[in-house]
Symmetry: D2
Subunit: 340 residues, 4 copies
């Protein structure tokens, strides 16, 4: 399987390299970078000292599959030509995640992807939409926050157990989610020993979450989603609140999760009373879930934890690749997280 | 003013020392410690090398005011005798925070304080209950989370702007809130690069928040309160969600805060669009507030940030002391937070 | 290959589990723990939720190889019987690292291992002593600091390029090196935003370093070694100073490293001017080296970086296992470090 | 006392604001900034929300004293005119620290200050050169690393107790020492969980240290100085190695420190066996010292700890101001460090 990465020098690009370096079926034959063509990847990332490989420009050679890890707006411009050449695409950006072009334009303030290409895109969250993914050519790899939120919510929304106008997602992310670009909001001295909310009421992952929840509920759902920046490098914790329908008890909610995930290799409903910690997933593709129904308020609190660069980005992308090429989903993704 | 601290070697005890060391009217004449009597405080805290003072046992000498920074259940046993001796008490623990002894027993699983003493206790959150504090002898210094939650919520609840069954408080705290005791949950290697929720649905600050909100609303209010442990030493950020009553716009909410706090030296409603960061309050008694009304869901998001050891504990205790002794509230508390 | 781990619940024990879980030839059949027998490993480490396996007591079954990750003094008591049963031992503790029992007793204040067993032990630093390791039955896996120091120093000492009474090792370690035990010196609030030296002049890795340097020089060498505790979880950086012999230039020193390590898969002399960072090795078995000769003082500064739990402990142990069983040394250890 | 700050928006500039805000004699009447003139300081630093003051351009009004916190090369261009106007200058930059203009040019690759002005500059390390400072008009405030190194070394070098060609300074600094400018080397995700050496053999504080040591020894001294970047915001720890002259014991060394510092309010020789931690000095002007003589190697290990932004910059600058204006040195600097 000939694999390429476009945008190889960003955090998700190099994380793909790390993961695929442990994948027995994938041969990386192309690393593309607009800014660093001609350099060796190990010049930019010395931890890859033993993985010497020269970065090329953005002219993509023939490949079986290309991972695109680009700022939004760039993948949609290139995808048509690549698909025509028979290259499968797994896009880690946002260009193909929103089916409604108008919603895309409203939240991203950029030209949406061409409608014909957009229609070919499939939202690549395997545990929720596996059957839609087989044989596809263009995968929209989900955002990190939506992955954390949807894995917790969708089984319960599909089963119609929640009051769907009551959903609140309070999410906490490590700094690597902001990418490698430099600015004051990722300056160590300003982030360390500090926590803040950001993008309150206007984060772009909001419509992505709402699109999938609405699909699961078969009616329009709006949520409140508030991301926070936490002084750590990796990890997302989503704490989710929703009103439970009358008569539904905690065990029913838990059972719905069990049904959805009992055979899933990466999704783990923890034993009762054990709450997810982002570090459980550090460097791995695993997701950890727990819930509790507060009987006093009839609100359920759902918590999910994952590594934003793995299940929230590059690991999930490799999982999607495995599906596209009929490999077991866990190939290259077997490792447990790093502890401590 | 002769001042003593009982429980001087805990984090809030020694923080009182730091703050009172900069207070022109307070003379610290007694440091009590059950575990370290006979040692010099600088043996336990070498950063206090220039503040040599021997720790005594728990026999409290005659004082104008005693700060009690003890595990819950201990202050209530000692308070009666001390009050009889004419010593004013500012208790940083939980023993006198809940007016309803049954509620205390339910959440703390300990014998509540004697009802006669409990009735003398006043909840010491000056910006909300200043007039109740003058001339008092027993102050229940609020919990760190309740301080963060109540300063954001009470002005809006008093003005009846929120649907009171819709309140959710998602709070994030630094590790120092857990105290100096050693156990795996404060082990550096287990906390660093990690975030988790804890005490979900059962944290003891829940009834404290509910008691004060219920008082503000003149009816019983129940909330969801979820604390999280963040890899940082100091700071609390509370992100609060509530449904707004029909017809109420963002400006009305903001105006209510402004009215409540415009002359307050420690409470700051930030300019629109500037969101609180816990580090703004690092080492200071200041609190930072911001809000946004999501018009789509009619939910307001309130955020407050403070230092859990200062406004969340020892700084607020000194502010209360200033009130009890008719000093300007800012005496000894003028400093800005440390940045970066 | 049937593998067991005694002391499976410590940090190096569970790190062995993580690494061996990715090893195609190793089958873990025994996890021993004095404190947690009967529990499932995933109760203690929920990140291992998909690796359910019950911890047993310290009765070791028949195995091909046993990793011992025990507090010092315990392995030496058990080793004789296990060796007699034909079980190869890789000991991650200190019991067999010092050949001179009197030196052991002086620094560890404990009874040394039985001399007959001690003589069978081989110091398992493959890049320096590979040929001594083939066919052995008892490997003393090196300490984390000695690994960092010796890999930098030994090639230069063997070639007699340094004034051997001039060696100073200033090392910086993450907190996981202190293990999982709880005490104030690993309390998050006391370690975060803080750095200190510890064990100045008396750290037990000093004689271990000296023993190997003396062997390399064929005369007795004494060094100054000062470890520091850094607010991070993993990683060791050793900054080493030594006077260079007259006439020796920087290129000669660098050349000696190249000769020693050019075919080594885990040891990387970085391009000139690129200085090692501990994070380059995060979660991997790789070691990064750089040096500079200060012409003004004729002192060379050597820097090495590694992950204390991998090349400094469990990764090196697996590398040693690979050698004992005639496998390529990189099996199970191919992964690059985690970035960022 | 009318005080101004030029370069008020850098980390040392705003730290001056924090400290001077607690100084009873200083009235801040001017904040100058080339980049942010016209803005309010609280727009840039919201934690100063209660300290509203508009930033002006670089036209300095009449003042008693001006703190200059500028990139190197800028202060020397402005100093002459300001001195002529009778404004005392305390320069926090490097322009006046090196008496030898050629050495300045070699290490800073910039035009040195005018020789006539340079001759007026006095090196402002009060505990070592207090008598030189009274009545002066131009103070070169020392670098952060030199302050840490010189306070440990100078008393011993003056007393001729060390072999002066044997001095090695291995220093560890928090990230705030790099300033507020954004680049990859201060990106949170690249600094967190990481430590590295930098500027090996070529850091500009080397000649500053050597100049003062040479002065203390009355002969030329060269040292090795290696700085490291530690994942923390504030603090410098210097670990210093030197060969001790024959016959000199540990007690003599310690006694020399005691003599030098026993009446100093900010310099603390810790009790034997208690080693400095940078956090002891967090946010304060205090310095902590400890030493140990290794009898085996006859090398003494000296450790000093301070806050790089306080005693290493703005606190020391205020201490110097106090001296220039005949105030007690501790005015405005009484606070202990923040713990935890």
């Amino acid at each position: 399987m000939k694999v390429g990465i476009l945008g190889a020098t960003g955090y998700t690009g190099q994380e793909l390299l790390r993961i695929l370096g442990n994948h027995p079926e994938a041969e990386i034959v192309y690393l593309g970078s607009s800014s660093s063509a001609g350099k060796d990847i190990s010049e930019i990332y010395p931890h890859l000292v033993n993985r010497q490989m020269v970065l090329e420009d953005e002219s993509v050679p023939d490949l079986d599959v290309l991972f695109m890890a680009l700022p939004h707006g760039l993948a949609s411009a290139k995808a048509g030509e690549l698909l025509n050449r028979g290259i499968k695409i797994i896009d880690l950006g946002a260009d193909f995640r929103l089916q409604d072009a108008a919603v895309y334009q409203e939240w991203y303030k950029t030209e949406p992807a061409d409608q014909k290409i957009l229609q070919k895109a499939v939202y690549g969250l395997p545990e929720l939409y596996r059957n839609d993914l087989y044989g596809q050519n263009l995968i929209a790899n989900p955002g990190c926050y939506p992955t954390a939120a949807l894995l917790a919510l969708v089984p319960l929304v599909r089963a119609d157990l929640l009051l769907t106008d009551s959903i609140i997602i309070d999410a906490k992310s490590g700094v690597s989610g902001a990418g490698r670009g430099v600015n004051l909001s990722v300056h160590y001295s300003e982030v360390n020993e500090n926590i803040k909310a950001y993008g309150v009421g206007q984060h772009r992952h909001t419509p992505e979450i709402e699109q999938q929840l609405s699909k699961a509920a078969s009616r329009e759902i709006m949520v409140n989603f508030t991301p926070h920046l936490v002084p750590m490098t990796r990890g997302i914790l989503a704490t989710i609140y929703a009103q439970v329908k009358p008569g539904i008890g905690e065990e029913v909610l838990r059972e719905m999760w069990r049904e959805a995930y009992e055979t899933e290799p990466f999704i783990h409903v923890l034993p009762e009373g054990v709450w997810p910690q982002t570090k459980y997933a550090y460097g791995s593709n695993h997701v950890f879930l727990q819930l509790k129904l507060d009987k006093r308020t009839r609100r359920v609190i759902l918590v999910s934890a994952l590594d934003n660069l793995v299940k929230g980005a590059s690991g999930q992308a490799v999982q999607n690749m495995n599906i596209l090429f009929d490999l077991p989903e866990t190939v290259g993704l077997e490792l447990n997280g790093l502890w401590p």
